[in-house]
């Protein structure tokens, strides 16, 4: 997923123009040149370990029930159809999309405001606020289930997707604020000041000058909020008792804990759960690395 130019082969010395791109000869290896087998052997073994589980889930999802073939042939989509309609994954999917998108927007907007304050102002409680952000990294949502449940019950929000959105947002916020403030610091303040001189107020100046430059960072933060809300399991399990309100991970858990586990359905459900995440990562790949390297440098 990560591709950088940082470790490309050093160009050969100029006096050998015939082979400018060749690897240094044996015995004069560059520092980062290990013997080939020391790379390919362990990597190959690790690759097998990594890929077999992926193959296995595809195999179970695509081959007919009862088949023991190690190749998914003939391919069948029965499992997907069954999970989608009989096991209500269509509904779960819809709920998960709602929760994911709502969390994405709420997290990004609130974190953008907070991140801007941290990046551009010096104010009294700044240090305390940053310490609070850091401390929340150590407060696990799982340990707060009981009081959170009580709060949402008092707010009459149990069994509504909004409760899950709020819980996911809150636990996603601290890291998002820290990251976004790092991205904003990378945008020169003088650009904003120039906009004010030209007659913009702070908000329009921010919208016209800063926001476009923040795009990679916002995409990185937003997609992380989405993926996190999509994958997370415990809040949805606890706050949503109505089956029609459940999300994909809860649906998967139901498939796993059923008395007689339907492996084909489980595999198909797992693939349905993975698709949006894979799409998000494929879409954001090019922004992700620039976003994070920019945010991490000064974060």
């Amino acid at each position: 997923m990560i591709t950088t130019e940082a470790t490309k082969v050093a160009p050969a010395p100029e006096r050998v123009p015939a082979a400018p791109d060749q690897r240094p000869r044996r015995g004069r290896r560059a520092w980062d040149e290990a013997p080939r087998w020391q790379i390919y052997l362990p990597l190959g073994i690790y690759l097998v370990f990594t890929l077999i589980p992926f193959y296995w889930i595809l195999l179970f999802a695509l081959r007919p029930a009862g088949s023991t073939s190690l190749v998914p042939w003939p391919v069948t989509f029965d499992h997907f159809e069954k999970v989608w309609t009989e096991r209500a994954f269509g509904t779960y999917f819809q709920n998960s999309v709602l929760v994911g998108v709502a969390t994405l927007f709420l997290t990004t907007v609130v974190a953008l405001a907070g991140g801007y304050a941290l990046a551009r102002f010096d104010f009294k409680v700044k240090r305390a606020f940053m310490l609070a952000l850091l401390c929340t990294q150590f407060v696990p949502g799982a340990l707060l289930l009981v009081p959170l449940f009580e709060i949402f019950a008092n707010l009459q929000m149990i069994n509504s997707l909004a409760s899950v959105v709020i819980a996911e947002t809150v636990f996603q916020l601290p890291l998002s604020i820290i990251l976004i403030s790092g991205f904003i610091k990378n945008v020169p303040y003088t650009l904003e000041e120039a906009a004010w001189v030209d007659g913009c107020n702070r908000l329009t100046g921010f919208r016209i000058v800063v926001l476009p430059l923040l795009r990679p960072g916002l995409i990185a933060v937003g997609s992380f909020a989405f993926v996190h809300a999509w994958n997370h399991f415990l809040f949805a399990l606890m706050f949503l008792s109505d089956q029609g309100k459940q999300t994909i991970p809860v649906g998967l858990n139901t498939l796993m804990s059923a008395d007689s586990v339907d492996l084909g359905a489980l595999a198909a459900g797992g693939i349905i759960a993975a698709v949006p995440v894979v799409l998000v990562f494929a879409f954001i790949q090019k922004w992700l690395i620039t976003g994070f390297s920019a945010g991490a440098v000064k974060g």
Binding site: T50, F123, K124, T136, P147, P249
Partner: protein, 310 residues
């Protein structure tokens, strides 16, 4: 965390200019939504956990509810063998899991940091499980460990393991089985963190070492490792806290079983509160977990130099 309370109340100097253009009030307005959310849904719940920990609080047994003093804590430490079991399992789980992740993650990062044909593809493939969630990881490994049709059956054909029982339902195999499932996803994460740091090592150092005739092992020991030290210490600590807290994987993979063999403290807390409705006792256990985490976060803050004055 309580300091965040001050955030919501700006000193509000009386000024004639529009609020949106008043820099003194603006930062407070900007952090207000985040601060209020964190105050209401993190700070307040944390405080109420401490409050509940001193109460008998069980919605299914309302006649017993009321102030309990330290009874919950005394019960946990003196006559709840399950508590000690989950505490030792938590420690075992975190140490083995994070230790192995660090070891394999470092090795993997060093390998894919080399120049070789197909590196981009290789990296993308070995890092891919990183994007897979806890529940989905469980679903995948439930398939792999299935006693009839799982990969474990084919391993049994080769003499590794035995037929007929799932690795997840046998007390002698469930621990390594869960560890392997979590490593599958955790090693790439560690490798990515370490790789990012590896790329910032100056190449001049290696070239100088090369000229001086240092072996690659020596270069690793004297250049690479010292450079990575801070990143390794911090990411290991963060990861340890994360592995301690995370319940998604074990909850769905083993449910804490068989026979409570794989119940971590947070999982025990979740079971005590959600299934047994023993909210008071669960809160006391949560308080114990907080103390452990507080200790870790203090170590982290010290190491990350957050408290240091410049």
């Amino acid at each position: 965390m309580a300091q965040a309370a001050a955030v919501a109340k700006p000193p509000a100097p009386p000024r004639r200019r529009r609020a949106s253009a008043t820099p003194r009030r603006l930062p407070y307005l900007l952090i207000a939504p985040a601060a209020l959310l964190m105050l209401g849904f993190i700070a307040y719940p944390v405080i109420s956990v401490f409050y509940y920990s001193l109460q008998n609080y069980n919605p299914t047994k309302p006649w017993r509810n009321g102030y309990a003093g330290l009874d919950n804590f005394v019960h946990a430490f003196t006559d709840d063998p399950q508590f000690w079991g989950t505490l030792t399992f938590s420690a075992k789980w975190v140490i083995v899991e994070v230790g192995l992740q660090l070891l394999f993650g470092l090795a993997l990062a060093l390998i894919v940091n080399q120049t070789f044909v197909g590196r981009s593809l290789g990296r993308a493939l070995v890092f891919s499980p990183w994007a897979v969630s806890g529940v989905l990881t469980s679903a995948i490994w439930v398939l792999l460990y299935n006693s009839q049709t799982g990969v474990t059956r084919y391993l049994a054909d080769m003499g590794i393991g035995q037929y007929g029982t799932s690795w997840l339902s046998d007390t002698s195999t469930v621990f390594p089985a869960a560890i392997v499932a979590d490593l599958w996803r955790g090693v790439p994460f560690f490798a990515i963190l370490i790789l990012a740091d590896l790329q910032s090592v100056s190449k001049d150092l290696y070239e100088a070492a090369e000229v001086d005739g240092a072996s690659r092992l020596k270069q690793f020991w004297h250049i690479t490792l010292p450079h990575l030290k801070d990143a390794i210490v911090l990411s290991t600590l963060l990861r340890a806290v994360w592995e301690f807290n995370n319940v998604d994987l074990l909850y769905t993979l083993t449910g804490g079983g068989p026979a409570g063999e794989t119940t971590t403290l947070p999982l025990y807390i979740a079971n005590t509160s959600v299934d047994a409705h023993n909210f008071g006792y669960a809160s006391a256990l949560t308080t114990v977990a907080f103390v452990i985490l507080l200790f870790c976060s203090m170590v982290y803050l010290r190491l990350s130099k957050f408290g240091g004055e410049k």
